[in-house]
Symmetry: C2
Subunit: 435 residues, 2 copies
């Protein structure tokens, strides 16, 4: 049987999972690839470090040159995270004639155009299924399986860490800080979870998906994003009382006047599929103009789900499918005009959840609703609980207002005006509501 | 731009949808295929029949020879249903050098080995994404996206007609016959819906998926199957009271001693994703040993969802990906040893829902539970309602028993024995329960 020689660069959690699949399940990969996928080299930083897998003799090396200078190695799983040296290593590998498989979404979100253009110049390919929603093969689904469609919208829970934290806060009533600590103990959150919880990771994934689905050439940093790091358990509780759960939702919506992209905690109606996505799972709902809605749900991260995506890409690359796809679809080409432009955020229309601390005296509700009316925002529901036992009429109490549809610009202006009222204490919490 | 000439054979509902996508959205298909997909011919039976789409002059023909004898046409969407003449036409097209895209699951389930072997001999390919669960790209997902996995199980709602009927019976409390009539009016059911409601269609789809996922070479007629045509609204109601919905579930489960395959109305716990699949939607839950559970949900049929799958296949075929996949994966090869064999049905283990009409007098429950105990079947819950107003103690009343896990053989034997008890009227309804 023909053999394709593979190298892994970076033998961390995912790299070890990939090595396991290649070493322990060669029959399986051979059956799907029509040839043996042979793990010839695995580049590690420190050869002395104990590892969870036993590599055959001669496979481990601490020299990237062992891969670069070996013409027999044609495909490399490049599994180093971060931007540098990941970027330089990928360029070197491409220049030495290797096809690349990667899981590094930050690298693609930041340097995609440079890397993809260089790969194309060199006649090489880059496969990146594992870069978004590990266990959900969303890259192949959007770029191949749904290729007969104009994608109309994408809604995704793309960051498993955030979803785990929000689920635990919601179901256990725990505070943000307590749940983050628990997530770190369980390995669901990094020591510094900032990129996950502030929406950066989800925005990077959304930028990649938007490029595939809409031809948008948007840098992830241009996507308006709010994380879950400021989320208050009170808002989870009030939302539930109103029939909603809060999810960190990445949203892409194509309209005549452009593309709406955003990442933000969003109220999602209980009973709809996205609201029921729990813990470290990811989910994506895609609407195509021919196929209608398609919903995907699976593990968003973790060693073996991500390794599953990497090995599927290794097989596709070895078979030759990846090269055909890569040559045909002009992914991230520099100079290619974008097919969709970002919409002006102020003109976006949506419903809002507002929570205010209001003075418990006559006229307060009237002054708030007058501001909303002035900005043409109509109210769908109001919820005001009595103060705690022993509260005096002068203490502030929480007031929750669900609005009907309003433009983002008017919702922002109304929020600022409400915050300036004398009867309001502290900032207004405003969250998006999806129907 | 390079051009791939396409023909459609059979311009019914799906064929017209495919023509629409090719004619109205050439830019879209060209972008994904890197070449123009040019609809050169559409073969119809009756040229005089009015059609929902306007074909360009010269495209419509009633002669298959116009396709067979045109060497410029390289890919054919063969969209004729049934076994003959669909089979002969497909063989003729393959022999004249065409690659085939088809939506005909009955043809593949019946003649797959013959057709695929012939295609392989001739160096041609057959793509068949549209044959199972139209809007869900499950063929590509199992054979490519999840190729790093041993698939452990598949659970699917694969027949939209049955799911529509069951959903309406459940939600509206309507009778089977009334809902079938409504489904026919809405176009969700054929004039003769037998193949849909008796489980044949789901079994044919399960046979195709099982071949891809497990290498099983099972004829669909060997798959134990029960349809929804005998379903009683009472069982939907009692199930709901117990926290379940009944779904026509196609199930494949790989165990050490073989593969379990079945299609049957099954109690699925409310709140789990499969239980929430409504009306004409399809859903499939796949568990892979690396990726874990992946859940897919989308429209199972209809003009444009199915056309979406056909056109994705046309693009893949034009690009050359299909040929690579087809050459590599030995789909349905005659003589290829199966990788998984069917398990002996008697040894399967599962929970059961039993509904009996019992005489409302002392000792009845004791006699039933004694039979169950004798067959080592333990009881999880019992529900017996009082008789209707005015019922005498001698009238029979329904008794519903949920069992713990038991082998299929012992459940069958116990059911027969219970049916022979004097205190039981009519047959025992036994349904599978999935946890």
């Amino acid at each position: 049987m023909e053999r394709t020689n593979i190298a892994i660069v970076g033998l961390g959690t995912v790299g070890s999972g990939v090595a396991k699949l290649l070493l322990d399940h060669g029959d399986r990969t051979a059956r799907h690839a029509g040839r043996t996928l042979w793990l010839k080299k695995a580049v590690v930083r420190d050869l002395a470090k104990p590892r969870e897998i036993d590599l055959p003799a001669g496979v481990a090396t601490d020299s990237l040159d062992d891969v670069i200078n070996d013409p027999e190695i044609s495909v490399v799983a490049q599994l180093i995270g971060g931007l540098e040296p990941a970027r330089s290593i990928m360029l070197k590998l491409l220049e030495s004639g290797k096809d690349i498989v990667t899981a590094n979404k930050a690298l693609l979100a930041e340097h995609g155009p440079e890397l993809f253009t260089r790969a194309r110049e060199l006649g090489r390919s880059i496969a990146f299924e594992a870069s978004v929603a590990g266990g959900i093969p969303i890259i192949a689904n959007i770029s191949q399986c749904l290729s007969a469609n104009q994608i109309c919208s994408l809604e995704g829970i793309l960051n498993g860490t955030s979803n785990f934290i929000v689920t635990q806060m919601d179901e256990k009533g725990a505070s943000y800080n307590d749940v983050v600590r628990k997530a770190q103990e369980l390995g669901y959150a990094e020591a510094d979870p900032a990129m996950d919880v502030d929406g950066t990771d989800a925005a990077q994934k959304l930028a990649i998906l938007s490029h595939l689905a809409f031809g948008a050439t948007v840098n992830w940093s241009e996507i308006p994003r709010i994380g879950i790091d400021g989320l208050d358990p009170d808002d989870l509780r009030y939302s539930r009382q109103l029939g909603y759960r809060i999810k960190l939702l990445a949203l892409a919506n194509l309209a005549d006047d452009g593309l709406e992209l955003s990442v933000a905690p969003t109220l999602v109606r209980i009973g709809t599929p996205l609201a029921e996505v729990r813990d470290a799972f990811n989910a994506i709902r895609v609407v195509g103009d021919a196929v209608g809605p398609v919903f995907y749900h699976g593990l968003g991260a973790g060693q073996m789900p991500t390794a599953s995506a990497v090995v599927a890409d290794l097989i596709d690359t070895a078979v030759g499918r990846t090269r055909l796809t890569f040559q045909t679809l002009e992914y991230f080409s520099i100079g290619q005009p974008p097919r969709a432009k970002l919409r002006d955020a102020d003109t976006l229309v949506g419903r809002n959840y507002l929570r205010l601390n209001v003075a418990n005296h006559p006229g307060t509700l009237a002054s708030i609703t007058t501001v909303l009316a002035k900005h043409q925002i109509s109210i769908a529901s109001v919820m005001q609980h009595e103060g705690e036992n022993g509260a005096t009429p002068l203490d502030s109490v929480p007031l929750v207002i669900m609005t009907h549809e309003a433009t983002e610009g008017s919702a922002q202006a109304a929020t600022r005006e409400i915050e300036s009222l004398d009867s309001i204490t502290g900032p207004v919490v405003r969250l998006r509501v999806k129907d």
